[in-house]
């Protein structure tokens, strides 16, 4: 038999084209969970060269992909089936959206002929996720897959990053089509800051007497730390950061005053409230950072530098808005100012006055001191992933970071359950990193099933579980702002977490006394493979200082 000419054109299924396209994007790892409508893709996955990490809940897969995207600055990929698989991803997608994390999400969907008929496991995930994606697609033709995937990655990663969803109907994934040619994407130029905006910002910098730099998570996303550090060193402007901006300048840098906001450092908040120029770079005036907006930085003019023009003047009118790439904008502002020595001295004095104290009375474990020690012992390779609650705020306050990618926290969405899957994403992306998840007794239970993922892949993740037998942050608010009317915050019937960890094959130890901290941390960091240090702390401990709701940032309250 002689080969017919068409035989030379390879025929591929939609699922194979999807795998080809992912490989073509340089994807090595995907996080997911199989099921009916996505089975053709799982079929094509076998021996494809893509490494699939089976998480034990789709939320875990999405949050792991989120963290993978944060540390690689390339889209993390997660996959789930239609219906409940897809809806289980939603929290992770929203998390990535709120924190501007590149992610590509692939969901199985019922066959197109069944769509709109309430078919088994049919949900309109395209519709459900519209408010929390940067863009989304329903694949209608298998031949469109290469182009859709290429565009999805480009959108997810460029400009202000975010999640992109690809809904993949089953009949499209099984359709056999001639492999389409590789798509050609028109290169997208990063928006450059306008000269006039830079000039206006330079004027304002030159006039300012008490300027302050506020750096947000956008600096790390843009990989603009060096430019920011250069600008800070050149201008000698004191620096404060948001939660996600921690590490943009090293914590031990003398000009760094700390995190601002609700649980920020008082020095940072006083500097913001007293500055006459606030230069905001890659931050978006989140209410947890600003406190009552009307009273935020009341005497300051604002320079706002962001890649996303829609952030400028969204909440606070900017006197100079610089929309575009951060690094060239920062470089364009070099030499514009030399900060008055008195202002620097004033900031330095605040820094000294409000330095953290670790001399808490008693024999019980003082979580801030433990976290400070962890951070010292963990070194530069450590990446801390946080859950949400008091423990998260203590990490932000008391751990030192020399790089923003050493600290992954769910900032915008505040997702309890982020920490453990995020540590998985970090460890898969960067096997050499020392991944430490700092979690609480409430948060760990949100995705505790991922302990099985640690075991399965032998992922060397260390867990510090700060157990106050409570939903501590909520309890604190009830104590302070709801007249101690405690409602559904008691977790004193928690399981024995060390026993739970061991049941999953994760080594564990419990400590409760201050003199056990050193040996406990040494054991944890030296343990082979995944391990948990279960730390019992006083349920009455609060996070201080605190800006009460509806108050301005200088109206912080301290421990009484």
């Amino acid at each position: 038999m002689s080969a017919r000419p068409e035989a030379a054109i390879s025929v591929r299924s939609g699922a194979q084209l999807m795998i080809d396209a992912l490989l073509g994007q340089g994807v090595r790892h995907v996080f997911g969970y199989p099921g009916g409508a996505i089975m053709p893709l799982y079929d094509a996955l076998v021996d494809s060269g893509l490494e699939h990490i089976l998480c034990r809940h789709e939320q875990g897969a999405a949050l792991a992909a989120d963290a993978y995207g944060r540390v690689t600055r390339r889209a993390g990929v997660c996959i789930a089936t239609s219906g409940p698989g897809a809806t289980n991803l939603v929290t992770g997608i929203a998390n990535a959206f709120m924190d501007s994390v590149p992610m590509v999400v692939i969901t199985g969907q019922v066959a197109t002929a069944l769509q709109g008929t309430d078919a088994f496991q049919e949900v309109d995930i395209f519709g459900i996720t519209l408010p929390v994606v940067k863009h989304s697609y329903v694949v209608r033709e298998a031949a469109d897959i290469p182009a859709i995937v290429a565009e999805a990655f480009q959108l997810a990663e460029q400009g202000r990053p975010g999640p992109v969803l690809i809904d993949f109907p089953k009949n499209v994934s099984t359709a056999m089509v001639p492999a389409p040619p590789a798509p050609r994407l028109t290169a997208r130029q990063a928006p450059q800051p306008e000269a006039a905006a830079i000039a206006a910002a330079r004027d304002m910098l030159a006039q300012a007497r008490r300027p302050l730099l506020l750096a947000g998570g956008g600096v790390a996303i843009a990989n603009a730390e060096e430019a920011l550090r250069r600008f800070a060193a050149d201008s000698r402007i004191p620096v404060v950061t948001t939660l996600k901006g921690l590490g943009v300048v090293p914590t031990d840098e003398p000009a760094f005053l700390g995190m601002l906001g609700m649980h920020g450092n008082a020095a940072a908040n006083h500097a913001v409230q007293n500055c006459d120029l606030l230069m905001v770079v890659g931050a978006r005036f989140d209410d947890r950072a600003t406190g009552q907006l009307d009273h935020f930085a009341p005497t300051a003019r604002i320079i706002h530098v962001d890649i996303d023009a829609a952030e400028i003047s969204k909440l606070r009118q900017a006197d100079a808005g610089v929309a575009g790439e951060l690094a060239p904008a920062l470089d364009g502002l070099l030499g514009a100012t030399e900060v008055d020595a008195r202002w620097r001295a004033q900031c330095g004095a605040w820094k000294q006055e409000f330095a953290w104290r670790y001399d808490a009375p008693g024999e019980g474990i003082f979580a801030p001191a433990l976290l400070r020690d962890l951070s010292r012992m963990g070194g530069e390779d450590m990446v801390i992933t946080c859950d949400v609650g008091q423990h998260q705020m203590w990490v932000a306050q008391h751990c030192a970071f020399s790089d923003p990618l050493q600290h992954l926290s769910s900032g915008g969405l505040g997702t309890m359950g982020f920490g453990l899957p995020a540590a998985i994403g970090v460890k898969v992306a960067r096997p050499a990193a020392r991944a430490v998840c700092v979690t609480g007794d409430g948060s760990i239970m949100m995705n505790i099933q991922e302990l099985a993922t640690l075991r399965r892949y032998g992922l060397d993740v260390k867990i510090v579980l700060l157990d106050n037998a409570a939903l501590g942050l909520v309890r604190q608010w009830q104590e302070l702002f709801f007249d101690e009317n405690y409602s559904e915050v008691d977790l004193s019937d928690n399981p024995d977490f060390a026993a739970v960890a061991r049941a999953f094959g994760v080594a564990a130890r419990t400590i409760s006394q201050r003199d056990e901290v050193d040996s406990g941390l040494e054991w944890l960091l030296g343990a082979e493979g995944p391990a948990m240090l279960h730390v019992l702390i006083d349920p009455r401990e609060n996070v201080w200082p605190l800006v009460p709701p509806g108050k301005a940032n200088h109206q912080m309250i301290k421990a009484s």
């Binding site: 395209f126 989304s136 329903v138 040619p181 590789a182 994407l185 290169a187 997208r188 130029q189």
Partner: protein, 93 residues
């Protein structure tokens, strides 16, 4: 305040829902709404919306959407931004 917007959309799945959803979620009440889909690949959505929030902010938020090709805010007499800096795909033969 009432704002009048002309929004040029790609004719792709979800484009209309995405634009209308954004307008409402961002705090702008839709008063009138008219869609003209007379070109093969693009449509024009004409809206009047009511909000205390500035129209220029909504314009910038709409411009972020991948399937929005351009937005004109009537009060401000701005030029019709047709080509925002968006990636686009050409498939080779």
């Amino acid at each position: 305040m009432e704002h009048r917007l002309l929004i040029e959309l790609k004719n792709c799945e979800g484009a209309l829902l995405r634009a209308l959803g954004l307008v409402e979620r961002r705090g702008y009440r839709i008063r009138t709404c008219n869609l003209r889909a007379d070109e093969a690949d693009r449509s024009v959505l004409e809206l009047t919306v009511f909000s205390e929030r500035p129209g220029a902010l909504l314009k910038r938020q709409l411009e972020r959407l991948h399937d929005v090709l351009g937005v004109r805010l009537e009060e401000s007499c701005e030029p019709w931004v047709r080509e925002l800096n968006k990636p686009s795909i050409a498939r080779t033969q």
